[in-house]
């Protein structure tokens, strides 16, 4: 297997050289930290990833979870991962000292989780699903809920999940029917079914804590009648002893990839004794859940970028070693063959992967920094960070997810026939990465979120802030000769994006909402490519300045590679926005809206 799945050199470049995360220490919340701590955190993550998670990657794929005797048997490495993450303090790392955390910046933990996801995506979700669920309890739960659940979740004793989907309610949460009947004892009686719930039952954990959406009996229909509950698999009784909570796993699904983590179907209250505890206010469940959902979306982007990273390094290693063919200009069959990395088209496939992976990682860290700043700033500064995070979240979720598939596909392509066989990990990465455009809100939902909500909210304030940030970067590149053409291309792309945005929102103003949103996914794609170009320009500027300081030989190669990949993105990827713009400027024709479903008949 390839040695590398995530580049520490690139993480250092992004975290310290591009984004200067060490400077977060100037905020009191992070004042105990600095580069020294962050280095040790990342090193430990890499060590755990390399020693524990990575060796189990293929095994977990080939030995899927099994549902037997009412529970789910998972690969034994899961127990080690959860125990090490709980015992090591990694599940609650970002939380405040009062809650038992260490106030590590979200940005650093995003990198830590990314290392895990690149090593073995399935294994990585167990501990970090718990982080998200615990954060939700910490944000909106009562003191009693916090005291009961958080310590055991942070220690890894209890698994956390998010339980939203139902058989009839996937993307359309409005239609969920799980009910919560109030009692006079402080809890609700839950009844219903949930499906596709990751890690909601398995054999090597004491308890599972589901953060669940349900409708309080008699609540208004629609999204405003949904509330958030803690519904554990086992509930602590008066003496603290765990008793069954009438919440059972009834089956698991078998998936294309990401096979090491079970997705379960849950039945609640079959015997009328499933208790749930309200988190936050009644009927505000969706709003509360979206805190976790927004974090989870960026995490999904990281998951995709991380798998694409592992695929990139596996294909890079292969192309360095595999001899095949000769230089196109060589006529002599007696000459030794050359490694395939010397062929221009193979280099193109590698550059594409690097452009997608490192561009995605950059945007994800950009978002993670905004999330950290939201937590430690006030007033207008906080609002600015919030709005930038909001508008970029659907992109940080979707660009890596959609492009990650293509990136892994190119990695697989580098190996030819071997890439299609299971002796190499590429075919597994290709299957594993496919989940990301689906879970935590499909790409279609992200498109509508971006165009229908984020771009137009507060009279386009978030959109204007994004343009402002990109323009600042362009100004920073203005005096650098080798980046001048990139800066100009980004200026043009931003103009194009403004024009398209204006044309589309014009449709909304006319009241033609269905037509306005019909091509939202294409808009998301166009916005995504533009945002990644912005991130590549930031990286290009950083690499340019670092090269000017005449770094050590190895570093110089790294920076030259960065600059070449930056130029690649601007020459090969950014021009795709022209084609998208051509279509989007004509979206008013409502082509897909007007297509009659009967016309699909043949």
């Amino acid at each position: 297997m390839a040695k590398k799945f995530m580049s520490m050199r690139n993480l250092h470049f992004l975290l310290y050289e591009v984004f200067d995360t060490a400077s977060l220490a100037k905020y009191p919340f992070f004042s105990d930290h600095g580069k020294e701590t962050f280095d040790m955190v990342l090193e430990t993550g890499m060590k755990m990833g390399r020693d524990i998670l990575y060796p189990a990657l293929a095994e977990m794929d080939r030995n899927q979870p099994v549902f037997e005797k009412g529970t789910v048997r998972v690969h034994p490495v899961v127990e080690t991962v959860v125990k090490e993450c709980g015992g090591g303090g990694w599940i609650g790392a970002h939380a405040s000292y009062e809650l038992g955390g260490q106030q590590i910046p979200n940005t650093i933990m995003t990198a830590f989780r990314g290392i895990f996801a690149a090593a073995n995506y399935s294994a990585s979700v167990y501990p970090f699903l718990t982080s998200g669920a615990a954060h939700l309890i910490a944000s909106f739960g009562s003191k009693e809920l916090i005291d009961t659940y958080i310590p055991r979740m942070f220690s890894g004793q209890w698994q956390g999940t998010m339980a939203l989907t139902e058989p009839q309610a996937g993307s359309s949460l409005t239609d969920l029917t799980t009910t919560a009947t109030p009692t006079d004892k402080g809890y609700y009686l839950m009844k219903g079914q949930k499906i596709f719930i990751s890690c909601a039952d398995y054999d090597c954990v004491e308890n599972v804590v589901n953060l669940m959406l349900a409708r309080i009996e008699g609540a208004p229909a629609g999204i405003r009648g949904i509330s958030l509950f803690v519904v554990p698999k086992m509930r602590p009784d008066e003496k603290g002893k765990l008793v069954a909570n009438d919440l059972n796993c009834v089956s698991i699904y078998h998936k294309l990839g990401y096979r090491g983590a079970p997705i379960t179907q849950l039945a609640l209250g079959e015997n009328g004794d499933c208790r749930g505890w309200l988190v936050g206010q009644p009927h505000k469940g969706i709003r509360h859940m979206f805190q976790m959902m927004n974090e989870a979306r960026i995490e999904v982007g990281m998951g995709a970028a991380a798998i694409a990273s592992a695929a990139y390094y596996a294909s890079l290693e292969y192309t360095m070693e595999r001899p095949q063919g000769r230089k196109i200009t060589s006529k002599n069959p007696e000459e030794p063959q050359i490694p395939i990395i010397e062929h221009a088209d193979v280099k193109r496939m590698l550059l594409f992967q690097r452009a997608v992976v490192e561009g995605s990682l950059s945007l994800i860290f950009q978002c993670a920094i905004y999330a950290d700043l939201v937590n430690v700033t006030d007033g207008e500064e906080k609002e600015t960070n919030e709005l930038l995070l909001e508008i970029l979240t659907p992109i940080a979720k979707s660009y890596p997810s959609e492009m990650g598939i293509l990136s892994v596909s190119q990695g697989l392509q580098c190996l030819g026939g071997y890439g299609y066989c299971d002796e190499f990990p590429l075919e597994q990465y290709y299957r594993d990465v496919r989940i990301h455009p689906i879970h935590e809100g499909t790409t279609g939902m992200q498109g509508m979120d971006l165009l229908g909500r984020k771009v137009v909210m507060k009279n386009g304030k978030a959109f204007m802030l994004f343009l402002g940030e990109a323009e600042k970067t362009i100004a920073g590149a203005g005096s650098i000769d080798e980046l001048k053409s990139c800066a100009e291309a980004l200026t043009t792309a931003l103009e194009r994006l403004k024009e398209v945005t204006g044309a589309l929102t014009g449709l909304a103003v006319k009241g033609d909402i269905e037509v306005f949103l019909a091509d939202a996914t294409l808009y998301l794609e166009m916005f995504g490519i533009t945002a990644i170009a912005w991130q590549w320009l930031i990286q290009g500027i950083t690499a340019h300045h670092a090269l000017a300081k005449l770094p050590a030989a190895q570093d110089a190669l790294f920076y030259k590679g960065k600059l070449a990949t930056c130029r690649y993105f601007f020459e090969y990827e950014l021009p795709k926005t022209q084609g998208l713009a051509t279509r989007l400027m004509r979206s008013g024709d409502g082509l897909t809206v007007k297509m009659e479903k009967e016309w699909f008949g043949d």
């Binding site: 040695k3 520490m8 105990d32 020294e36 701590t37 280095d39 040790m40 955190v41 090193e43 430990t44 060590k47 755990m48 090490e84 015992g87 090591g88 303090g89 990694w90 790392a93 260490q102 590590i104 050590a552 030989a553 190895q554 570093d555």
Partner: protein, 256 residues
């Protein structure tokens, strides 16, 4: 108990090592540095001993400024304090001088037991633990894969060809640690946070009163020679080709 674990910072086993053009050593540019893996077993065993018997663990390292990272890693695993012998005169010094520097520090610590990795993966000399025991005038048990302590003595297991030795020793003594002794723990996040505040004494050679002139010097370092190209035996007759192969193996390669 007063326990000492000696650690050395070495290039990561996965680092790409390049020899400097003048052969004076390796090119350190772009190398990732880690704790010598054999020393990790020593640190882990020291921590387990402390957890079982009480006491404290002191980490001692001889190395340039960057070796502080490795000491902090051991502190993050759970050791109490560190001593860093940092002196440009000791950079890339020999095993004797390293052991002399360690001995000068450790004498003052008055330990019950001292752990060293059985060798460092960079120079593979495997001498420091033994020289250290000799300078301190205490027993040593090398290449240990199991350790028990009772009644003020240790019982150690050391694998040898086809068998294993069970060795008893009085304390204090030096134990050099081998793969199989334990599974070193990962640094925990609370451990990392505490490590920053744990005391590390930094000392130079003059403060320790040791001679810095090495007794052994690396005269020249050369990369391993490139593998010679293979030879393809041409011809259509398999018997003749086989005979030629045997001849070449006997006369040229001299392996049969």
């Amino acid at each position: 108990m007063n326990i000492v674990a000696c650690v050395k910072q070495v290039p990561d086993t996965e680092a790409l090592i390049k020899v400097k053009p003048d052969g004076s050593g390796i090119d350190e540019g772009g190398i990732k540095w880690v704790m010598n893996p054999y020393d990790e077993y020593g640190v882990e065993e020291a921590l387990r001993l402390k957890e079982a018997k009480g006491g404290e663990v002191t980490i001692v390292s001889v190395g340039p400024a960057r070796a502080m990272e490795t000491i902090r890693t051991a502190l993050a695993m759970g050791a109490e304090k560190g001593v860093h012998v940092s002196d440009p005169l000791l950079d890339n010094t020999d095993a004797y001088t390293t052991a002399a520097a360690l001995a000068a520090v450790i004498k003052g610590l008055n330990p019950d037991i001292i752990f060293c990795g059985q060798r460092a993966i960079d120079d593979d000399s495997g001498q420091v633990g033994s020289i250290l025991a000799a300078i301190l005038g205490i027993p040593q048990v090398t290449i240990v894969t199991k350790l028990e302590m009772a009644d003020g003595k240790i019982k150690a297991i050391k694998p040898i060809e086809g068998a294993q030795l069970v060795i008893e020793s009085t304390l204090p003594c030096v134990i050099t640690t081998q793969k199989g002794l334990n599974e070193p723990r990962y640094a925990s996040l609370p451990g990392i946070m505490k490590a920053k505040k744990k005391p590390v004494d930094v000392k130079n050679a003059a403060a320790l009163g040791i001679a810095t002139e090495p007794k052994a010097k690396v005269a020249k370092m050369t990369p391993p020679p490139d593998r010679a190209p293979g030879k393809i035996i041409a011809g259509d007759d398999p018997a003749a080709k086989a005979a030629e192969l045997v001849r070449l193996l006997r006369e040229e390669a001299k392996v049969i």
